[in-house]
């Protein structure tokens, strides 16, 4: 059988593709799966720094494709988690260095060795995106609850369906329950209503993501932050486990208390 190839894409940039790829890869490996994360954003390499593996790079994806090294040489082993590997993107090349068939070949070569291959897609809908979805068995679209991000996600949903790669599933990232509660942010139901695709999970806005990215330690590896918990839940769902959505609605009821606390702190 071999690995399942999952591509994380979004259309819009900056909505959390790389963070999601790093955390889902780590979470799956922590559950005992053999995982390799591939950075397909040629020229804008970032998965390495988010995963904290930037100092270990010798070869990259383009080197593998061009036959300048063997696959084994480009695979960077994460020393913190058993069975977690990463293949970095080339930094000094561009998207045209790789074709969709190359990605299919790379994944076919990796499939027997792994349970999951996660591909971090570049933003946009051009060749880099086409490369990233070419080998995918399933595609996760990540968006934030903002009109621009949801609009781009919808475009990507359409392109994936047109390619016969659907149906894609959705990760809603950076949700702020208190803003939803006061009517100032699109809710999960709103986003699902307009995109009409299956929901894989909701990740709440969480400062721990920034801290963990600063340190190069995916948040699922450390404390049980809310975002980390959400990514662990999504990983479990990818494994076919039936995990209920996290309850994000606990805060608003005590908001008058926290507001007073906030005033006191500010004062």
């Amino acid at each position: 059988m071999g690995a399942t190839v999952i591509t994380i894409t979004s259309g819009k940039g900056g909505v959390g593709k790389t963070t999601a790829t790093a955390n889902l890869s780590a979470a799956l490996a922590m559950k005992g799966k053999r995982v390799v994360a591939i950075d397909a954003d040629i020229g804008l390499r970032n998965l390495d720094v988010v995963m904290g593996l930037e100092n270990r790079i010798v070869y990259d994806l383009v080197n593998v494709v061009e036959g300048a090294c063997r696959m084994r040489q480009a695979l960077i082993k994460d020393k913190r988690i058993e069975n977690l590997y990463m293949i970095p993107a080339a930094q000094s090349r561009d998207k045209s260095a790789i074709r969709p068939q190359d990605m299919i070949d790379v994944c076919d070569q990796l499939r027997p060795e792994f349970d999951f291959i996660l591909i971090d897609s570049p933003a946009g809908i051009e060749q880099g995106f086409r490369n990233a979805i070419a080998p995918a068995d399933r595609i996760c679209i990540i968006t934030t609850p903002e009109v621009s991000a949801v609009r781009d996600a919808d475009r990507v949903v359409g392109l994936i369906e047109a390619e016969g790669k659907g149906p894609a599933s959705l990760i809603l990232n950076r949700l702020r329950p208190q803003m939803v509660h006061r009517g100032d942010m699109l809710d999960t139901a709103d986003v699902l209503d307009v995109l009409a695709i299956e929901l894989l999970g909701i990740v709440p806005e969480d400062e721990d993501i920034i801290v963990s990215t600063n340190r190069g330690i995916p948040v699922v590896m450390e404390n049980k932050s809310r975002a980390g918990q959400a990514f662990c839940n999504i990983a479990a769902r990818l494994l076919g486990e039936d995990v209920p959505l996290m309850d994000l609605e606990e805060k608003p009821s005590s908001s008058w208390l926290s507001k007073i606390a906030g005033l006191v702190r500010r004062g």
Partner: protein, 87 residues
């Protein structure tokens, strides 16, 4: 703000509601690649074509793109004026 508006009956929709309706409108046009300008042209051509056969109430005519899930639908509701010549 949302709660305040609701309590005091303000008619101003929340930014969440505005976002959703703007999204729905822009997406339905994105999906079928029909801009509002092209929609207007389509409507004008519908009027001229149908008017060759029956007299229609142009003011009461409604042409809309709607969606159900990911399925888009073009609906035209065109009131026909009395077929008998009024004289």
């Amino acid at each position: 703000m949302g709660l305040f508006n609701r309590l005091f009956g303000s008619q101003r929709p929340t930014s969440r509601e505005v976002a959703k309706s703007r999204l729905q409108l822009v997406l339905v046009h994105d999906r079928v690649d029909l801009s509002p300008q092209k929609m207007q042209t389509l409507k004008d051509e519908l009027i001229s074509t149908i008017s060759k056969y029956v007299e229609i109430d142009v003011e009461g005519m409604q042409v809309n793109l709607t969606q159900n899930g990911r399925q888009c639908r073009l609906t035209a509701d065109i009131p026909i004026l009395s077929a008998r010549p009024k004289r």
